[in-house]
Every structure is written in C-alpha cells, then in structure tokens.
Symmetry: C2
Subunit: 241 residues, 2 copies
C-alpha cells in the first residue's frame, strides 16, 4: 500500500476512487488527484447492515461519510420515545453536519449500506483549501433544506392517503428502477419506518397502502416490492397539482 501512494503521479486519481460509484455525484468530485490521495489515505470503506446505527443523537461527530450504496435514515426522538424521521439520504449523498460537534439526530442504515468514511478535521481542512468543495457541501445542505421543507408541507397539511402516496412517489423517483420498462422497486423502509417518516402509525400506513392498491394506483408483492403503473396517477394521489 505504502509504495502505491509513493509512486503515484499527481495527475492520476487513486485506483479505489476511480472505480468508486460515488465519485462524480459525491463530494469528492471537486478534489484534485493529490487531495484525493490524501483523503483516500485516511478514509475507510465500511459495510453497514440494515438497522445498524451510524451515529446516535447527542454523540460526538468525528467523521463524515459518502454513501456509496443503500439508504440512510436520519431521525429524531422525543424523551417519551416518539420518533420522527427527518431525512433520507441516498447514494451518493454526503453524510455529516459541518461546523457542529454534537449530532442532533440519529443516523441509521435503512437498508444494507456501504459508506466511505473520513475524519471531520480532514474534510474541513480540504474545504478551506478548496472553495469548490465548500460550495459542494453548501449545495448539499441546500438540497436537504429544500427536501425538509417539502416534507414539512406533507407532514403539516396532507392527509394520510396523500402522505403515503407522496412517500411512494419520492421513493419511485429516487431509487433506480430495477427494470427499465416499468417503475418497480423494493421499498427501502419498513412500514414502521414509513410511519415514522410520515408522522402516522403503522396501521394507518398499511391501510392507505391497501387503499392505493385497491384503487389500482400501485401493485404490491411480498410487502416490500412495489410497482407504479402510472407515476402521474400516484403524483395526483399525493396531492401535487
């Protein structure tokens, strides 16, 4: 490994990064080959099984991560156990809250996930050197802000039916369809997670899914596998125009 780093030409990007799924969409895309090498030297790839916690509410944040594959859920919990998912991050999103030491929420793998982790301090130094990186991080924050506000509208003003349809529509447009032809995918979240995301109970989510199925807006197989024959109908059920 050592020699590998010593021999590189500064115009080449590290081999690991060259084949990395998140390389262009992710936050590393703005870095120079030399910076990538430095980042690479301090980064580790990790697999995280569904349900495992990356970081807990109130813990110290020492690392940032790029999501290479899978879905991460960010959630907040009240003292009495009520829980709300406040964000879903898909590959190749960047995970971590700049400028803050203590996490205000829990990050947990919703599906089996692969991430690339690096120390907070290193990213912050690179961001100082590289305005493009700083801007990229800023852009991601703004994207998350837009999404959060979109969900505030959903949480505050939509009916259970519209909430569930909105969720399915979001997933349908964020997950790569397995099948080019039709819009078909596996839900990355359990009914309990969906409920926590939409501010509903499991039972209500289930009932609304059943209703959407009976109305022909979606098809469901094995509970997790969903097909959307017509995205526009789903969008209409979600209350969007």
């Amino acid at each position: 490994m050592e020699s590998h780093y010593k021999n590189h030409q500064s115009s080449e990007v590290p081999a690991v990064c060259r084949v990395c799924e998140a390389r262009h969409g992710g936050v590393c895309g703005t870095l120079t080959p030399a910076q990538l090498f430095e980042l690479n030297r301090h980064s580790t790839r990790r697999k995280i099984d569904a349900g495992n916690e990356l970081i807990g509410q109130g813990e110290l944040v020492s690392h940032y991560s790029n999501i290479l594959s899978g879905v991460i859920k960010l959630s907040k919990m009240m003292a009495d156990g009520r829980q709300q998912i406040v964000g879903l991050q898909f590959a190749p999103d960047f995970l971590g809250r700049p400028f803050l030491c203590e996490s205000t929420m829990t990050a947990e793998a919703a599906t089996d996930t692969e991430i690339c982790t690096f120390p907070k301090s290193l990213i912050e130094r690179l961001a100082n050197e590289t305005p493009d990186l700083e801007r990229r991080l800023h852009a991601q924050s703004l994207k998350e802000l837009d999404e959060a506000r979109e969900w505030m509208l959903t949480l505050g003003r939509k009916t259970a039916q519209e909430k569930v349809a909105s969720f399915l529509h979001m997933i349908a447009t964020h997950i790569d369809p397995e099948n080019g032809e039709q819009n078909t995918f596996d839900l990355p979240l359990s009914r309990a997670d969906i409920a926590d995301f939409l501010g509903l109970t499991i039972e209500t989510v289930s009932r609304q899914m059943t209703k959407l199925r009976k109305d022909g807006v979606i098809r469901i197989e094995n509970n997790r596998h969903v097909t959307v024959p017509c995205l526009e109908r789903l969008n209409a059920a979600a209350g969007n125009d």
Copy 2:
C-alpha cells in the same frame, strides 16, 4: 452621495453600515470595508408592511436581502390552497436561496419589516472572492436546516397542545423581550399564521392557547401580547424532555 463614495478611505466601513442593526449578526460582517462599499452602492433599504409579499412561489429570484428588523415567513402552498409555513426568519437573518433562480416558496412580511436588498449576482461574486462569506451563507443554510428538522418532529409527532407550546417557546427565545425582567412579547403571527405554521386550524390554535392560559402556563393580553412566567413549564408543555 457620489462624493461620499469617492472620499472614503478603504479602511472605513460605509456610514450606513456602521449604524446598521444587522451589521455584525448578518452576512455583511465578513466583508472588507471595500467590499461593503461596493455592496452598499448596489443595495437599497426597504420597509415592508405586515402582510406584503416579498417574493412569490415560482417567481424569479434576482435579489437577496438582510432582514434588519421584523419577521419574515416562508410558506408553501398546494394547488387547492392548503398552506404550510416552512420557515420564520428573524433579524439579522439573510434571506434568499443561493444557486437557485426560481423560488420554491413565498416570502411574506409577518410584521412590519425593514430589509436591505442587493442583487443576487453581486452577492455571488463576493462569495466567490470571500471564502468567509461563502461559509457564513453555508452556516445560515445549516441553521435553517436544523430548524426545519426540529419542526418536522413537531409537525409529525406532537399533539396540538405541544405544537402550540413549542411555537410559543420558539418565539419567546427568538424575540428580544421588551422587558428585561419577565419573558413578555408580542406575537409576530396571527392565529391564522400560527395555524399554518403548526399544521392546525385557527380554532384548534385558539383552543390550545386558551387551555395554556387557563393552566397558568402563559398570560395573554389583547390577543397578541403574551407573557411566559416560567419558560421551563412552557418547555415541558411543548414536550421537550
């Protein structure tokens, strides 16, 4: 005016900025005197009466603003008229969505407001020159993101009672108290606005305010004027730990 600008020494900040309420908290704080002069030349102060719209959903964003005084509400509307307030901005917050041309929401003055406006292009150029400014804008985005996620928990998982108490607690801690002794303030929002903020109806907000009053958690005069004898009791009513 012309001569004023010609005669300045580059180490002095413009007179208007020197007495500006938002100078240090706001986004201008990071700029050099020379940059402040340039910004100042292209900026205008405006007063906006309560209820007036700054920018509408779907309109083009050509200007950014610093809020000098007052409260601005950011809201989203559905096709059928249902509305949700997705953010409240207090002086000296910065108003505007970097990197985006079309506004995804409406910005409206909740109270009589004074702002300082400048063209989007100028701020973006200054942000390129000044990493500190870019970082300041980033920090503000992150603050808004944190607030949005906090409200997602409120919208999704709290009861009407807790929602109203949460709102009052937020206002109590964001508005400068008129009176050093006790926590007393004028609500910047009407019952209708509060309802749109909390995902409730006017009637429910009213009922919960009455209940909080009868329980002795708050005192109300003239509908708008609120006193909080004990912030901790209010916080408890809001469901926070």
